[in-house]
């Protein structure tokens, strides 16, 4: 049974991505007690799945490492993974949160030696790599996973595979008897940082994401570029494993579209401009990128980055939202059809690989969130001034880049601190 000490001076942070981690750390470093609840088996969220950040093109692993060190050295944060908040009742300063914790089947004894992973043979889709490849059914979520502990996939529980994993463990860390638990936590304030999910590209019918192997999403492209990804950092296209040297990027794939997401997702322009750098980095001088766009929204200081990409002779810009994609059945190439806005020329351009810069959909959309929390027309959270004990942070509140998400998370932590400070004063 998971033991967690929480009082109405405790801050509950929902979501352990970059925003949730930041909010939790800021609050804890101000001396507050924090419970950080994460749905996945490890912290880091979508940021840990990126290859590089824009605009500096440094690796997210660096920032993640700093945050994890802060986390490990702070005794005031309690991290609960594989856990989801299913209910929230009460009022500011006096909430009760219901948290459902799924079994990991691996306890704290785990040293991440990997013996269980070697022992089992069945495989499951590797969701960290957006299911582009498979991992063993006993796995470490990713190289920098925190907690650094293996997970057994529920699909092998009750089979001989699970027994193999248990037998292989020298530290008695595999516990097949673990059950789902429901915790009830008393907390004073809540920071809701459940982040975002990539828009379901299957719904953009004319682009054929569901039909053509070489149409992929921008988040999948990040995994291809990452040395820890399914292709070891090579831009190999899914259909035949050929190296992609002629890559198309389609902007606003789902965003700014009344039929899909109403809002501008804000990060996709910069993400694609960044990814043209991957194409050049991996493919050398013969590699070419083509960006199909409505207008490039490289906001404020990112304009410099855009100008740099604009000056790159290996990158071409076509001002047009692509109307449809067809596949050349013989070569597997994708052919993009449309009409450009600068001269109204009809084009049909063949590319090795097409990357859809998919929009950001708030993770809270369609989720059973407590009634106290209100959302705008796109499903992003807004502060409910009537209750004001639950604060959104990061991409749960808006389409944000990492920089702005972290700023918002710090602001949310400050608001949460004010609530628990009020409680502390009242309690003397």
């Amino acid at each position: 049974m998971t033991e967690i000490v929480a009082t109405n001076q405790t801050i509950l942070v929902v979501g352990g991505g970059i925003s949730g981690m930041t909010a939790a750390l800021e609050a804890a470093e101000c001396g507050k007690q924090v419970v950080l609840v994460e749905k996945e088996a490890s912290l880091g969220g979508r940021v840990s799945q990126l290859y590089r950040y824009f605009p500096k093109l440094c690796h997210p692993t660096c920032g993640l490492e700093i945050n994890l060190r802060r986390l490990k050295s702070n005794p005031r944060i309690r991290v609960v993974t594989l856990a989801e908040v299913t209910g929230l009742t009460g009022k500011a300063g006096d909430y009760t949160a219901t948290v459902r914790v799924s079994p990991r089947y691996v306890n704290e004894n785990c040293t991440a030696c990997g013996a269980c992973g070697d022992a089992v043979s069945s495989e499951v889709a590797n969701t960290f790599n957006y299911s582009l490849n498979k991992s063993k059914a006993a796995y470490l979520p990713h190289a920098m996973a925190f907690p650094q502990r293996y997970v057994l996939d529920p699909s092998i529980i009750g089979t001989a595979e699970a027994e193999k994993a248990k037998a292989a463990c020298k530290y008695d860390a595999v516990d097949l008897g673990m059950q789902e638990e429901t915790l009830s936590l008393k907390v004073g304030a809540v920071v809701w940082a459940t982040g975002w999910k990539p828009y379901d590209a299957n719904r953009i019918q004319p682009y054929g994401y569901d039909r053509f192997a070489n149409v992929i999403t921008s988040v999948e492209f990040e995994r291809l570029a990452d040395p820890h990804g399914p292709t070891g950092g090579k831009l190999l296209r899914p259909s035949d494993g050929k190296e992609a040297k002629n890559v198309a990027f389609i902007q606003c794939a789902g965003s700014r579209d009344e039929n899909h997401l109403r809002h501008c997702s804000r990060i996709c322009c910069m993400a694609s401009l960044k990814q043209t750098n991957y194409v050049r980095e991996k493919g050398g001088e013969n590699a070419r990128s083509t960006v199909y766009y409505i207008d490039i929204r490289a906001i404020d200081r990112f304009e410099d980055f855009y100008q740099k990409v604009l000056a790159d002779p290996q990158v071409k810009f076509v001002k047009s939202k692509v109307a449809k994609i067809v596949e050349d059945a013989k070569t597997g190439d994708v052919v993009l059809h449309g009409v450009d806005t600068e001269g109204y020329h009809r084009y049909a351009n063949a590319h090795d690989l097409c990357v859809l810069a998919v929009g950001m959909e708030p993770s809270v959309k369609g989720m059973d969130i407590p009634a106290e929390i209100i959302a705008d027309s796109s499903g992003f959270l807004e502060i409910n001034s009537a209750t004001a004990g639950v604060f959104g942070a990061g991409c749960a509140t808006n389409a944000l880049d990492v920089n702005r998400a972290v700023q918002g998370a710090t602001a949310a932590a400050l608001r949460a601190i004010q609530v628990v400070n009020r409680v502390a004063r009242a309690e003397g």
Partner: protein, 207 residues
Amino acid sequence: MSDLNAQAVAKYRTNFLKEVEERVEEGEWVKMCMQCGVCSGSCPLGPYWAHPPQEIFMMIRAGRRDEVLTSDSMWMCTSCYNCIVRCPRKLPITHIMHGLANYAHRLGLAPKNQPTRVFATLFWNNLIRTGRVNELKLSLALYFKDGFKQGIQNALNMQKTGLGLMKAKRLNPFELFSGHGCKDKKGIAAMLKKAREIEASRKHFAN
């Protein structure tokens, strides 16, 4: 220049966008276009248009009145609705195209021998006479649109189909002489007159 056209020119001068917004069906949507080009790329007849919808919207904003209204582009629309379904801003593009075509026709600027325009005119004149479309007269009129000789040729080419239809009792040759109408012909005429009046006052045709 027709009176209506001269009137419009005098009224709106160089503000063609305003003219379209006030007088063309769904014209108030034109300013919402963000020039992404999905409509033009999605149009199955796109390659045959002189100006795709996206370009027409930009031409309207640029005040290129004569080029737009005398264009045959919007007459190429087959109402497949691909553009409406895909438009990220939900512009009723098909309806705007029909609205523009209709307005150009009304002002007497539409290309005279554009086949869609000829057919639409024949259809409408045929319909309002009795309140019912007389299919035989309509198709014969269409055969003869390019002159008497070509009309005879067309009729001969379609002879077999016509006889087949007659056998299947889908075509009555006596319709050529009188044809059956609807019960209240006067009522229909009154209704159409009223509709014209309402349209004229809504779209500021009177002044």
